[in-house]
Amino acid sequence: MWRFRGMSVNARRLRLLSDHLTDSMLAGVAVLTGVFLVLPTCVVVLASFTSTSYLSFPPAGFSLRWYARMMASTEILRAAQTSLIVAVLATAGAVGLGVLTAFPLVRGRFRGRDAVLAFTLAPIMLPSIVLGIALLFFFGFLQVRLSLATLVLSHILITFPYVVRMSAAALVQVDPALEEAATNLGASSWQALRHVTLPLLAPGLAVGAGFAFVESFDNLALSIFVAGQRQETLPMRLFQLLVSDIDPVVAAVSTTIIAASFVVLLTVHRLAGFGQVMRLVGERRARLP
């Protein structure tokens, strides 16, 4: 009898069949998982163009009425403005503080350096809700009025660790000899930093800053505790709209946010490459408490 790898022809047929079955089952689950992953996003985008006065899926007709409604809603626009202001301020603060902290953590040789590094990353290891309630009580006990300042400072607290990680990782790659060369050629320390080191850190910083921005813009669990009454952010506004009723205007806002986050993503991609985009996403894994 003809044999292949010690198997009879029938056994081999059976093997091929079972292999085929294994492959198709796994491929099937993978494809379904892919659909599962993008389904909510697609549904939101499509539903935002519905022409009905209630939320419908599949959308009935095509209209931009919900986008018009969005642009006419002062509450939503004000919330978006607040979110942008908070995210810009928090990102600026996080980048400044993060870079400042990353330098001694990478280049310094002082006692307790590892402890400081671990300490720096602690805020992102803590569940946001726990940090939020702790800050709420803290501000309450100190009788600090919740304001833009408390909101921005809290956002800096949870975003600067990402900048520290990203810029520290980038700084390790920078050869100090380049700075020495610059200084030997007559550059001041500031000039060396400005024209040699910082440009080399730029890709890592761009990712860190992009991440800080997204993290701040998207934050809900912390903001609801530390924002003042006049600082309702966009996630807080959307949350309120959804808790009471499923308002189709949220679909329009969501689609706008999705489009904007793709622009951010493409910008990071252009500035730093796909690897850095992945890294940006992978950084979320640092959230392990």
Binding site: G6, D19, T22, L26, A27, V29, A30, L32, T33, G34, F36, V38, P40, T41, V43, V44, A47, F57, L97, L100, T101, P104, R107, G108, T120, P123, L126, P127, I129, V130, I133, A134, L135, F137, F138, F141, Q143, L157, V164, E179, S189, L193, D218, A221, F225, P235, L238, F239, L242, V243, I246, S254, I257, I258, F274, V281, R284, R287, L288, P289
Partner: protein, 283 residues
């Protein structure tokens, strides 16, 4: 070398002390010392709030439900994530990029936006119910929103990247010819997966599971929107209590139960990693 001075870490230390250490210490103190108004009475520490928490059947039920929900999300992520990660290792680089973009897409859309999509899909007149009723599988719409199943479905989508990415990065570090060798030596696909791929992805699976469990356990936005006021878990309980109750002690106790559980799980994980000698496991 520029920027070597340790003094540069001072601003960060000030921020961390002022807005992280002190608030957490205060939160801990509120749980063990009596509070009157906005002053803590620093005498006779006791665990009364923790006992109040334990004595309340509703709190106990919510705690158990939170553990059950996080476990269900972890299992669902594993069931979907492993085939996905395996498929990733078997396709060409172009498709790998596509699969990566797909798996990280939930992270890129905002937290509220993701939950909103699920509200539309799982609602009484949502996609799933319309489909099932249309196909004649069910007569009346089933209740998916504001229930355990809805929250688990929505959270699984949100948490999948945290399961898939560790498994992929674990598998990518393995020699791909090990799998081919198993096939060459006469193993069937199923056997090769069972005896080669699965054991090799164990560190990734372990890391992903811990990550998913802990993140799901502490998640707020998705359970708050998809679960609503009907399906309360510990993080949404904390928020709800700040809106209505003035029992600060119990709030502190709930927060530390949430924190403590996460820490115990991560600690158990790192012990397990050490015991099994999975040194190349994802942290």
């Amino acid at each position: 070398m520029l920027g070597r001075s340790s003094a540069l870490v001072l601003p960060a230390l000030v921020l961390l002390t002022g807005l992280f250490v002190l608030p957490l210490l205060l939160l801990a103190a509120i749980g063990v010392f009596p509070v009157r108004g906005t002053t803590i009475i620093w005498e006779r520490p006791d665990l009364a709030p923790y006992l109040r928490y334990l004595a309340d059947p509703f709190y106990r039920w919510v705690t158990l439900r939170t553990v059950g929900m996080a476990a269900a999300v972890t299992l669902a992520c594993l069931a979907l994530g492993f085939p996905y990660a395996y498929a990733f290792t078997r396709v060409r680089p172009v498709w790998q990029t596509a699969l990566l973009v797909l798996v990280i897409s939930p992270i890129l859309t905002g937290t509220v936006v993701r939950s909103y999509g699920w509200l539309v899909i799982l609602g009484r007149r949502g996609l799933v119910n319309d489909l099932l009723v249309g196909l004649g599988v069910i007569d009346v719409p089933i209740r998916l929103l504001f229930s355990m199943s809805g929250v688990v479905i929505a959270l699984t989508q949100v948490m999948l990247p945290f399961m898939v990415l560790p498994i992929i990065s674990g598998l990518a570090r393995q020699n791909p010819s090990l799998y081919d060798a198993a096939l060459g030596l006469g193993a069937s696909r199923a056997q090769a997966i069972r005896h080669v791929v699965l054991p090799l992805s164990l560190p990734g699976i372990l890391a992903g599971s811990v990550l998913v469990f802990v993140l799901a356990f502490a998640s707020f936005t998705t359970p708050a929107l998809v679960g609503g006021g009907n399906f309360i878990i510990l993080p949404t309980l904390i928020y709800q209590q700040t809106q209505q109750s003035l029992d600060w002690g119990v709030l502190s106790a709930i927060s530390f139960v949430l924190l403590g559980t996460s820490m115990i799980i991560v600690w158990a994980y790192s012990m397990l990693v050490q015991r099994l000698g999975l040194t190349w496991a994802e942290r």
